[in-house]
């Protein structure tokens, strides 16, 4: 449907926020037959969803401190293995005890896991070293638990795809500027289309605030107060996977004690700092954060000391103060669903927040239940059993590999599961690799642009991994920008987009710009500025835009 048509419709529910929670809620609502519009101010999974470890918690991390969360986690963990198979890599995880840790905690930990229903198997240090060769060899204890790796970008997109299949509309790059409130009732949203600058109003019977940490701002627009306590966490990405399994420290949760193998890389994190709500949009990683992450990271896997760091990033967890304690001292890490009709006397407005990426589906279910209660819909939730698009069937088998080199095809199957069948690959041009690090073909880019709501290179990166390899988009970003320019018939925008993309890549590289990552940056500068003159082209364009 064209955007203007989308604006005109009136919806049962408008969901604000295109993270995992919003996407999960949209899917659930759509599956229950509601008419749904989801709006996202930036791109899907730009916020906390795309800025975490990519860890599919077993719940073990919370077992000792928060049994309820732990039980939720393991339940959702098992569900996601079924419904989101193509987003999940079943790695298992270790909780290791180092000489400086108290081995007695292991006992407490294993018992707590047992209570939460998490399989926790104590193994000998020797066995741990054998199954995970990268682990700190000094470990004195290890517990094996069912952690896994999950790709949050793919997960979010799969939920949105299914929502759309079931009739939902989704708009990215649409920022909510205000809520339409009439006589104590939320009746829709005021939107700013950031792609063309338009301002519009869209009406809906219920508005769901699933904007994560930005939910406080959204609530305020409705005149409702929620106290969020942003907790910032920084992470580092290394150039390749040093570990096969998730490695955690078996102690009370602390800084940089999880190392996750994600796709072709591994990620260490996180730090944890309470920050003022005004600074949640500043995601720059500081030198101190980098230092802490490295210092703690090498305790999990010593080889990180000499492994290339390709990127640093940070995200903000949306923690919510309990309503009975607005000081923020007692903060819930669990799921918070606020019906503002009951809480604040504002009808048609629901906030779903707190929780974790892991429990996005459950959050969606809870929020949808609340919506359905208002709309008198009694259909049951089926998201726990219905596989997401891409995970329904076995992944398509690749074409006869003996005949042609098929890295791109295999990588695409890894990314899109059964949906990879929709990627054109029958002619040589569609088969050509654009991003060689990550095996992204022209066909996959076409598919992403036409079916996965891609407007720019950053969106494309989240859908396909273009530019996520060690070179962070050296040649592929130019190739991809050219293709986008061609598909969108807008070369100037593509060129500006290229500069923005390189800037976004550099933002993550800069805090770790030493060694080969600095070499990489210099080569990128030599190509795009020295050879191509992109800086000149963009500054000319910017001057024109100003005039």
């Amino acid at each position: 449907m064209v955007t203007n048509e989308i604006y005109k419709k009136e919806y049962d529910v408008i969901i604000i926020g295109g993270g995992a929670t919003g996407a999960g809620t949209a899917r659930d609502c759509a599956l229950r037959g509601l008419s749904v519009l989801l709006v996202e101010r930036d791109d899907y999974s730009t916020g906390a969803t795309g800025r975490n470890h990519g860890l599919m918690h077993s719940g073990a991390r919370y077992a000792v401190t928060d049994g309820e969360s732990a039980a939720e986690c393991i339940k959702e963990n098992m569900i996601l293995r079924r419904i989101a198979r193509h987003c999940v890599e079943e790695t298992d995880g270790l909780f290791i005890t180092l000489p400086e840790d108290d081995l007695a905690y292991q006992q407490t930990f294993v018992e707590a896991c047992g209570r939460a229903g998490i399989r926790a198997e104590v193994i000998a240090p020797d066995e741990a070293r054998a199954i995970e060769p990268s682990v700190n060899p000094d470990l004195i204890g290890a517990v094996r638990i069912p952690d896994a790796a999950i790709d949050p970008f793919r997960l979010t997109v799969a939920n949105l795809l299914d929502a759309r299949i079931n009739g939902a509309e989704t708009l990215n790059h649409h920022e909510v500027e205000g809520l339409i409130v009439n006589q104590g009732r939320a009746e829709g949203v005021k939107l700013h289309n950031k792609l063309n600058g338009e301002h519009v109003e869209v009406r809906g019977k219920v508005v769901v605030n699933a904007a994560g940490i930005w939910g406080q701002r959204i609530a305020k627009m409705a005149g409702v107060n929620i106290s969020m306590f942003p907790a910032r966490g920084a992470l580092l990405i290394f150039g390749h996977r040093v570990n096969r399994m998730v490695i955690n420290r078996c102690r009370k949760p602390a800084n940089a004690d999880i190392l996750v193998p994600d796709d072709t890389v591994c990620v260490i994190g996180t730090t944890s700092d309470r920050i003022p709500i005004e600074t949640v949009d500043d995601m720059r990683v500081t030198r101190e954060e980098v230092d802490v992450l490295l210092k703690e990271g090498i305790k999990l896997a010593p080889s990180l000391a000499t492994t290339r760091v390709i990127r640093a990033y940070a995200g903000v967890r949306p923690l919510v103060a309990s309503d009975d304690d607005p000081s923020g001292r007692s903060i819930s890490r669990g799921i918070v669903c606020l019906d503002h009709a009951k809480r604040d006397g504002l009808e048609g407005f629901i906030t779903i927040t707190g929780g974790k990426m892991m429990t996005y589906r459950l959050m969606g279910e809870i929020a949808t239940n609340a919506v359905c209660a208002k709309l008198g819909n009694s259909k049951p939730c089926i998201t726990a059993t219905l596989p997401l698009p891409g995970s329904e069937d076995d992944a398509p088998s690749q074409s006869d590999a003996t005949k042609r080199y098929s890295f791109g095809e295999r990588a695409a199957i890894g990314r899109h599961g059964s949906l990879a069948a929709r990627i054109e690959k029958d002619n040589d041009i569609d088969n050509a690799l654009v991003c060689e690090c990550e095996g992204v073909t022209v066909g996959e880019i076409k598919y992403a642009v036409h079916q996965l709501h891609v407007q720019n290179l950053v969106n494309l990166r989240r859908r396909t991994r273009v530019g996520m390899g060690t070179c962070q988009g050296k040649l592929c970003s130019c190739r991809a920008a050219s293709l986008l320019g061609e598909f969108n018939h807008d070369v100037k925008r593509a060129q500006k987009d290229l500069a923005t993309f390189l800037d976004e890549r550099w933002k993550g590289m800069r805090p770790v710009a030493w060694g080969d990552t600095l070499r990489e940056a210099q080569l990128t500068a030599a190509i795009y500025e020295g050879l191509c003159g992109l800086d000149q082209a963009v500054s000319t364009q910017r001057k024109e835009d100003e005039q």
């Binding site: 390749h240 072709t264 000499t306 492994t307 290339r308 295999r410 040649l475 080969d516």
Partner: protein, 421 residues
Amino acid sequence: MAERMQLCNISDNNFEQCTKCSICTTVCPVAAVTTDYPGPKQAGPDGERYRLKDHAYYDKALKLCLNCKRCEVACPSGVNIADIIQHARMKAGEGQRASLRDTMLANTDLLGMVANLVAPVANATLGLAPTKLVMDSVMAIDKHRTFPAYSRTKFTTWFKRHAAKEQDAYPNHVSYFHGCYVNYNFPKLGQDLVKLMNAVGYGVHLLDKEQCCGVALIANGLYKQAKRQARTNADSIRKSVKDDHLTVLTTSSSCTFNLRDEYPSLLGVDTSDVRDGIMIATRFIYNLVDEEKIKLIFKQDFKKRMAYHTACHMQRMGWQLYSIELLRRIPGLDLQVLEQECCGISGTYGFKKENYERSQAIGSILFKHIEDAKVEAVITDCETCKWQIEMSTGLPVENPISVLADALDVEATRRANGLQI
């Protein structure tokens, strides 16, 4: 621990040092002639990150790699690209059996031993049209190929009969790893080395036990056998270098590279303690000449125009300099140094029917350069390059040691080095 943090980047075969600059792809001789091969960057560091996730990302196209190492020589980041590819192939080949053809090609010593016994018959048979057709169709060994002729007498037999006894009389001593080619096909090269070394006052000794270095076994996926033979050779070399204090000389660049570098990197047989004690003979001789420890005197009437071809593995070792500089000392030799190009044979690769055309296409640039150089013969340190160039250009190809020995005024040299004639 914190002191050592992020001071350098260490990864297997330096694959993570890759900046994706794509320079390696510009020198790959295989990618230049076939669209089936994804090129060294894809096959090497790009693919490796995915193979670390799941080895199912291994692609059979990697078999097309020649292992010529030109990508490694060109890489400005020190990535051992070809080694990454070889390792991936080894991992994919685990538990799989090599074909009869590959086993036969790989066992250069076994084939040599049998052929030696029946040399006249073998040479005739391996050269016969019907035999070639059978090999072509049944064994998939390309019919254009001629197996190198087998010698009636092995080098080792000659050495024991005619040379061994006098070696102790020389003031200085070296060991010699002759390799399969010298032993079975071309004893003259070994004899030339003995002649040359003796003339400058060095006695030559064989290793206690020498087996085929295994370069062909590795290329054909027979890793277990390669490893066994590598251990035997490493022990013999260790005895020579460590116990007897004798440097081990070689006359084949591929054997040398294999012994020094592929043993530890591909087969996990550590030779680092004796690595500096293994070298191609021209390097050893050049150093003696450079330090004025020995003198070489060449015949006045030696007049030839020859072209030097840098074998890929020679270039990987960086030692062509020694062969070239030594040859430049022959007054009557008009030496043309060719631009480094791959000849396309890469050991047994070019013998396989499926590779023949590709192999010749790769070599065509070199053959053109040779033709343009207008020389009477070509010089190279590699025996398989020799076969390929001889077959493809019709010119004779010689090892630098043989050229030096031919040009050497033996008597004058012996005298100059204080030896009795």
